[in-house]
Subunit: 465 residues, 2 copies
């Protein structure tokens, strides 16, 4: 039985989604004003692993991850660079998608704030009508005093600790927060019933999650620093509007990435951009390394740790490759010794250890310990040339790698066509230069590799035989 | 909730294995005296699909499939060909493994009778000691009258219908069956406490299943024609020896392969050897075609049906390929229309239809109907260039294809290295001939494809960047 640590209850709870086998998951995505850094990647890979584990448990996950493409930081960055806020947003959104896809993180829906302004206005209008929000000269604010459960997620019960957006002077209370901000001169704006302006930060997540996942859903994820005020505010807005409680059943938060013990953050200036990291390490090494720490723990970044991860993944791949070859040789035994029978059931037991670890709030370090047990068993299989042990270890690893997605050597399906096309291109050039021997050599070798060539007048077609 | 049709109870039963998540499955494999034919492949693919569906349901299956490598048919065939029985057995065992692996059917343990003679003798000895078997001049026989539940699996209650091995004259009753057969002159034999001889057919399955799966296990599979007497006898032997009941919880039987309405069988002379079929059709076409019929139904073989399957799989692959490319383009939308949101939930609903079909005694034709629904949704995604719809359809298809294993184009992982090596070889030749422009072109294009070249004095090394 899967248990997850729910920030809302501060304890491990059995995981029971609202409408199984559906799991609706919303994760806070990036504010696209700068390069994504390794701390971001940590959160996104963590929730991708959670998603993929839920999938092998028989759930089907619809995963929404938003993009904050309008925000003070974006506006400031645009000013600094003398470009439009949209240029900044588009540039870093494209980078984000590219890096995420490389890390095999592909949320199902990636809504952007600026394409949901109408939905956001409708949400705010409804809050005003229901008496949960008020309009001032500077914008629209959520009236925290009207919502009786404020502080439930963060556990912060002292109102003095709730203060936020303290620079705004016309709020009723220091802990009220903006739903709509009237534009200052030179700032981007959208029309609204209140003033030309833009949405506050928190309202976007309440709006876009409900649009795509409904008025209640199963998992809301994000980094730990979003608990207060962002997620606290999201809950207040959404429960106020929809009259449901709890709005989200499970709140999951990932721990910080640290460097020399300090939280990695733009403001501290100790960030490692993902794009830089990817120049030094294969994406699978990065994904592997990120998966080795429990998602709720702090994770310390160091170049040494990545070097170790690289070596570890290389060793893993060597074993997996050898196991694939052992099975491909295909020499099943006519009977197994007791030792071999035991190994088969041991593989099953290690596979269960993987599940037990993951069932315990997605404990990936313990899950990796089980994988390493399987790999040791795999190495014993290779020493003893045991087809059966190799096969069952691979059977377990294939299941497990639907979650980690790093164990098996990457597929190069796409590549192969490019290489064949390059060979055909080279051959075309050789034929022009009447170097028939080399052209024929290419044709013959390709034939052996299962590729047939068909020379038309000027072009050559190829196909897999 | 998965329900399976249990031949033992003659009804659909909820599937509850003895020690979940473990599922222990034994399937009757081939008697290796001739080419495996398409009727055999049907049974083996059917149980492979059952295994792989159980795996995506969260079970872990240990699958044992025996090889009968000593038997009257093998002895007769050897006599006909003037070779040893072992030559015949080895030849067709090798062919069987090769064909099975091509069809992606890989049982975890493949025990052979002749490598379990000691275990079989021990089993028979125990039956004699317990009073369930008796020794005559011609061998050892199971005393059916001693076992009170005979006929339970086949439902044959009339003792007159139980007659078997009627050519043996020294049995107590015509329905007793051989556990050990004394060798006639010229026949192969093994030493035993009773006479030099060989095991009867039925005892091997009781012996080898219990050796690898324990005294009770979850699923026993095989073709329908094995229900009586083979499986009936297996139950009698095993329950008699182990004192457990039921010995096997679920008995699953696959329907016949027919040709023009008649059962495909060697004796009727209407078989299609698998090895011939594979010359005409890709293995994936054959696996696909076999999966389109419900495993318990009769399945009519026709060349036309295979041609149709070939076309159907081509169409499926075209859609899947295009979906992969659509997602690879990677242009997620900033917001989705209601129609697109509906399509995402429709993909989920079709994925559930697949599960509902499979949960209903592995109803693959209905499961394929759900897949075709997904593919239609995929084609709509392609028309509308909807990344999100394409992505969720692929998410569902990837899960489903862990069972069918035919939807996605085959991996060509191994190939890519051969093509790169061919390019390196061609370039070496070009450098010898001082055709620097073409040699450099190859270097540059390979670089773009992520392959770095390092020229040493005479050799060139390459690596993926």
């Amino acid at each position: 039985m899967l248990k997850v640590f729910n920030t809302l209850s501060r304890r491990l709870e059995p995981f029971k989604p609202l409408e199984p086998p559906l799991v609706r998951m919303y994760v806070c995505g990036p504010t696209v004003y700068d390069h994504s850094h390794v701390g971001h990647a940590r959160t996104w890979v963590a929730f991708d692993i959670i998603k993929k584990y839920l999938m092998i448990k028989g759930y089907f996950v619809i995963h929404v991850q938003n993009i904050t493409d309008i925000d003070d930081k974006i506006i400031n960055r645009a000013k600094e660079e003398g470009v439009s806020w949209k240029d900044i947003a588009d540039k870093y959104t494209a980078e984000y998608f590219d890096l995420m896809a490389k890390l095999k993180v592909m949320p199902n829906i990636n809504p952007r704030v600026t394409e949901h302004i109408d939905d956001i206005i409708e949400f705010i209008q409804d809050l005003i009508e229901k008496g949960y929000a008020y309009v001032t000269n500077s914008g629209v604010y959520f009236d925290v005093d009207k919502y009786p459960y404020y502080g439930q997620l963060s556990g912060i019960k002292d109102k003095k600790m709730w203060s936020q957006e303290t620079f705004v002077k016309d709020k009723k209370n220091p802990y009220d927060f903006a739903l709509w901000k009237c534009a200052k001169p030179g700032e981007p704006w959208w029309d609204s019933p209140w003033c030309k302006g833009r949405p506050g930060w928190h309202i976007e997540c309440s709006t876009m999650s409900s649009k795509y996942l409904g008025k209640q859903f199963d998992i809301h994820g994000g980094a730990r620093d979003l608990i207060f005020p962002h997620h606290e505010n999201e809950i207040a807005q959404s429960e106020a509007r929809f009259g449901v409680r709890p709005w989200v059943k499970y709140w999951l938060h990932s721990g910080y990435m640290t460097m020399k013990g300090e939280k990695m953050s733009k403001s501290l200036g100790n960030i490692v951009p993902l794009i830089e990291l990817m120049k030094k390490y294969d994406v699978d090494v990065i994904r592997y390394w990120l998966s080795t720490s429990h998602y709720r723990s702090e994770m310390e970044f160091s170049w040494n740790a990545l070097d170790e991860a690289k070596k570890a993944l290389e060793r893993i791949r060597i074993t997996v490759d050898a196991l694939l070859k052992e099975v491909e040789k295909g020499s099943p035994k006519g009977s197994l010794s007791d030792d071999e029978i035991n190994k088969i059931y041991k593989a099953y037991s290690l596979r269960n250890s993987f599940h037990e670890a993951m069932d315990n709030d997605f404990n990936t370090p313990k899950a990796w310990a089980a994988v390493h047990g399987l790999l040791r068993l795999g190495n014993e299989a290779l020493e003893g040339e045991s087809y059966e042990t190799a096969l069952i270890v691979l059977q377990a690893l294939r299941e497990i790698d639907r979650v980690f997605e790093v164990l098996f050597p990457p597929q190069r399906t796409k590549d192969v066509e490019s290489f064949i096309e390059l060979l055909v291109e080279v051959r075309k050039e050789l034929r022009k230069r009447k170097m028939w021997d080399l052209a024929d050599m290419i044709r013959n070798e390709l034939d052996k590799l299962g590729v047939a060539l068909l020379d038309r007048s000027s072009e050559t077609e190829w196909r897999f035989k």
